[in-house]
């Protein structure tokens, strides 16, 4: 290929030089504004032979982000020109500047129609390209018969473009799939690889859209197998060769189509079994292109009804990929394993160690894949060890993955917790590490969990109290801690606890902690609500007058708080102190255990696999999520307020 064929568009190059010589953004803007003004003026003039240069210049500034809409009509004019150079840039401009929503695009319909039957195949090709990029539904309906004609009777160059154009048409107007089916079928007999490639893409699109069409195309499986065999076995074919593999792109396309045709169908799967085995064993995996084909083969084997020997081979290939030095290959392997973790769970479990190691890879993409896969591999038998790894991951994982990791850990813990204490510990661990990234439902869910674990109330409140002393920035954690302190304050003050070392906690200590939360600028209004209520609830276990006064003074401060919710609470609590002291004990007594199936309670979000427990079955689809504050407490008090 010679440089001379690349004749420079001189005015374009001059402009580019001028733009590049600008030393600041401001200077560049100035140059471009001047150029655009000149271009605009040129557009208004009649034909001067340099029209294509002007449009090219406009497209250049458009790429840099400057407005170019005033060039739309010029595109329309250029497309209608008889000169190839002008048509070429006109169509390019149309594809860059127009879309079907703009009026100007309607004006090019006629040009496209005419150019589709132009005597020059390169003009036809421009029209096909433009139609495939931005053809509206009406244009597609209008021109579909013409495309069908080109699919049947033209040269390979046009046929392959017509095939992709047909794909676009089918995407825009689904019914037209019927029209193209016969032509698509006969294209499989072509020898030209570009045409074959286009044909396979078209057939794939038709099959994915329509089940009946898919069933009709199942008959082509033997033909596809033949074509593949030709690519895999035949001698060295230099024009299609990429690093020793014969047209890997076409092979990948055919393998994908075979996958679609063989799914859930014994007959089709049988017909392709031998071929797949052949490709799987003979493809050279030392080069990237070989791996692309192997990877596609593996996916096909695993998604059709293949015989078990072949399946084992496929999973082993994935296992080898997982240990490959090339990170791309490891990444791809994990994607594939993710796709089959539902159906071939045990096979994937065998590679759990390697997958967990990938959590520590420095590449964020690999980490992301490893996280998804690790979560999918947690089971009752490995939950303790897996959770250790996942919690370790959570403490150092990239910020964009934390929410996903946290919610995945919660789901896994919910399904497979070996004990209630482990479950509570795990959730607390997540809240301490990534409390800012958990969803809102976590707080009521955790509270419900805690109330249900009655033997652990003492342990839990001690742990939460300690966590509160260390860090009050994680809102979810602080909210749960306050709730528990309010609820189980008596256990906290008692000092002894079976499961943890005893620690002396005085009433003042507890009130100090709650006051710190109330006064901290880090606490959200919701959190303050929790702390206020907890302070109030401590009134019952605390016997000394000094502390009762302290509680009352804390509460009454909030009687004039700007936040309406807090103000209302404070006022109501004050009322309880003054007028309704006889009811206080009953009102503020310990909450009943929150039932798992109570209405209004929704489970935590689920990522991926459905949770088989009863909760989700009982929760209606449209039920709103719980509000941030625990609804039960607020209801109790406002109900009292009516009295």
């Amino acid at each position: 290929m010679h440089h001379t064929a690349m004749s420079p568009s001189v005015p374009l190059q001059e402009m580019i030089r001028a733009i590049r010589s600008a030393r600041t953004q401001c200077e560049e803007r100035g140059v471009i504004q001047r150029e655009c003004a000149a271009i605009r003026a040129q557009f208004r003039q009649s034909d001067n032979g340099g029209r294509s240069h002007n449009l090219a210049k406009l497209l250049y500034v458009h790429m840099l982000g400057y407005p170019a809409h005033f060039g739309q009509m010029e595109c329309v004019r250029m497309i209608a020109s008889p000169r190839y150079s002008e048509k070429r840039v006109g169509y390019l401009g149309a594809m860059m500047l127009l879309d079907e929503k703009q009026d100007a695009s309607l004006l090019i319909t006629n040009s496209i129609k005419n150019d589709l039957s132009h005597s020059n195949q390169y003009v036809q090709s421009l029209a096909l390209c433009t139609l495939a990029c931005m053809g509206s539904a009406e244009m597609c309906r209008d021109l579909a018969p013409e495309i069908d004609r080109l699919l049947r009777a033209s040269n390979s160059y046009i046929k392959k473009k017509a095939a992709l154009c047909a794909v676009h048409i089918v995407r825009k107007v689904h019914d037209l799939g019927e029209l193209f089916t016969p032509a698509a079928r006969s294209l499989l007999a072509e020898k030209n690889h570009g045409v074959l490639h286009g044909a396979v893409v078209l057939i794939t699109e038709l099959c994915e859209r329509n089940q009946e069409t898919l069933e009709r195309f199942r008959k082509t499986v033997p033909d596809l197998v033949q074509i593949m065999k030709g690519l895999v076995i035949s001698g060295y074919s230099p024009e299609h060769d990429v690093a020793g593999i014969s047209d890997p792109f076409l092979q990948v396309r055919i393998l994908r189509l075979l996958r679609i045709l063989g799914r859930n169908n014994e007959g089709a799967s049988d017909a392709m079994n031998d071929l797949l085995a052949q490709v799987a064993t003979n493809t050279d995996s030392t080069k990237t292109v070989g791996n692309a084909v192997l990877y596609e083969t593996v996916l096909t084997v695993l998604h059709i009804k293949s015989e078990s020997g072949l399946r084992v081979l496929a999973v082993n290939i994935l296992g080898r990929f997982l240990l490959n030095n090339d990170r791309n290959i490891r990444y791809i392997a994990m994607i594939s394993l993710q796709k089959i973790v539902g159906t071939d769970h045990n096979a994937v479990q065998r590679h759990r160690g390697t997958i967990v190691d990938c959590l520590k890879d420095q590449d964020a993409s690999v980490k992301r894949r490893a996280l998804d896969l690790s979560l999918a591999l947690v089971s009752a038998s490995n939950v303790r060890s897996m959770m250790k790894e996942l919690l370790l991951f959570l403490s150092s994982c990239p910020p964009e993955l934390r929410a996903q990791a946290a919610s995945g850990i919660f789901n896994a813990a919910e399904r497979y917790a070996p004990s209630q204490r482990w479950h509570i510990d795990t959730i607390l661990h997540v809240l301490t590490t990534a409390g800012g990234d958990v969803r809102d439902e976590t707080v009521p869910n955790l509270i419900q969990l805690i109330t249900n674990a009655s033997e652990l109330h003492c342990y839990t409140v001690h742990k939460l109290y300690r966590a509160l002393l260390t860090d009050i920035s994680q809102q979810s954690l602080v909210q749960v801690a306050c709730w528990c302190i309010g609820e189980y304050g008596d256990l906290l003050l008692r000092g002894e606890c079976q499961e943890t070392e005893p620690v002396q906690v005085t009433e003042d200590d507890v009130l100090d902690a709650l006051e710190t939360v109330l006064q901290s600028h880090m606490s959200s209004p919701a959190t303050r609500g929790f702390a206020l209520t907890a302070t109030m609830k401590l009134r019952t276990p605390l016997s000394l007058t000094a502390n009762t006064d302290r509680i009352q003074s804390i509460v009454s401060i909030y009687g004039s708080c700007i936040d309406v919710e807090l103000q209302q609470r404070a006022v109501e609590y004050n009322a309880l102190f003054r007028k309704y002291d006889h009811m206080r004990a009953a009102v503020l007594e310990r909450m009943p255990v929150i039932e798992k199936n109570s209405p209004g309670h929704t489970n935590g979000e689920s990522t991926g696999e459905p949770i088989k427990d009863i909760q989700t079955l009982k929760v209606k689809q449209g039920e709103p999520l719980l509000p941030q504050q625990p609804a039960n407490q607020v209801l109790t008090l406002t109900q009292m307020h009516v009295v």
């Binding site: 790429m63 692309a292 590449d363 992301r368």
Partner: protein
Amino acid sequence: MIKAILIFNNHGKPRLIRFYQYFAEDMQQQIIRETFHLVSKRDDNVCNFLEGGSLIGGSDYKLIYRHYATLYFVFCVDSSESELGILDLIQVFVETLDKCFENVCELDLIFHMDKVHYILQEVVMGGMVLETNMNEIVAQVEVQNRMEKSEVSLFLDR
């Protein structure tokens, strides 16, 4: 489907932008900036696949990229494309450019942006892979350039 092909340099300056899905102009520039931001953070020895951008197409899309000297070649694709296949396609495209421009470098892309588009049009059409045979692509590009040249020579340049 390939949703977009972006080529920009190490400083994020766009050298070729092709969207196969309609986006308003300011959105296009935002996408370019976001993509550059994501890609330039990556080390040289990590994998060539990136997830996590949000502006194009939501969750079902990936960035597949290669870094050649001063240029990033980024293909934004959805799950219907083979990741390794696209990676190979980028290599084919760059090698084709190399054949057309003789030791192609960033300057060639800067000063011949329109020509690069025409070459790309022979490789990808409507967001779908059209032709992967380098010789075929180069031959077709050559013919079309000759056609254009024969017309241009009939007119005086500005």
